[in-house]
Symmetry: C2
Subunit: 111 residues, 2 copies
C-alpha cells in the first residue's frame, strides 16, 4: 500500500502535526491505530502521510476536503485524546497547523 | 537546537514535501545540507521541520512568510536540483503541496 496520500486537485485542507514523542509506549501504538481508523471513516477525509525517525520526531499530515470536515475531525480526535489522557504522556511537545492547499504536484517526472 | 520551526501568527505559507528516497546516497546528504543552508538564507524563510524513517519515507515542511518568498525559493531549489541531476536518483516518488497556514497552535499544554 502506498504511503502517499492521493493528490486531488486543490483546493483542500492539510493538518500538519509535528510532534516529539516521549520514550515508552504507554498505550500510544493502540491509540494511534484507533485514531487512524477513525480518521479514515470521517466525512471529507482524503488521506494522510506520516513518518517518524528513530529519535521519536514525527510529522503527520492529514488531508481534508474542506474546513468543516477537519473541524469535525478535530472534535472527534480531541475527545479521544481526552478519554485516553494521553497528550502529556505521549508528547513532550507538538505543533498543529491548519493550512489550505493551493497548489500540488508530484515527481520526479511530473506524474 | 529544537527541531521545531518557530510558530509565528498566521497567515504564512507551508511547503509540504513528502518523498520516498531511493537506496544509496549518490551525493544526497551533501545536497540536502547545501539545500538547508541555502533555504535558511532566503528572504522570507521562517523555518522548517523534517523527519524520515528507516524505510526512507520522509516529510519536510518548510515555512515561508509569503507566496513571493516561496516561489523565489522554488526557483533556487529547482536550479540546484537540475545542476545535480539528482531528482530521479534520490527519489522514487515525491509530492509537493503549497499551502497557506490559517491557524496554528501547540501543546500538550496549549503553550
Amino acid at each position: 500500500m502506498s504511503r502517499f496520500a492521493p493528490l486531488p486537485d486543490p483546493p483542500y485542507y492539510a493538518v500538519i502535526f509535528t510532534a516529539q514523542r516521549t520514550e515508552g509506549d504507554f498505550g500510544y501504538g493502540a491509540m494511534a491505530d484507533q485514531m487512524g481508523e477513525m480518521a479514515a471513516q470521517q466525512p471529507g477525509y482524503l488521506g494522510d502521510e506520516s513518518t517518524r525517525d528513530d529519535q521519536g520526531f514525527g510529522i503527520t499530515v492529514s488531508y481534508w476536503r474542506d474546513e468543516e470536515s477537519l473541524v469535525n475531525w478535530k472534535d472527534v480526535a480531541n475527545h479521544l485524546l481526552a478519554q485516553k489522557l494521553g497528550k502529556t504522556r505521549w508528547y513532550s511537545y507538538y505543533t498543529v497547523r491548519i493550512a489550505k492547499v493551493e497548489r500540488a504536484y508530484s515527481g520526479p517526472d511530473d506524474r
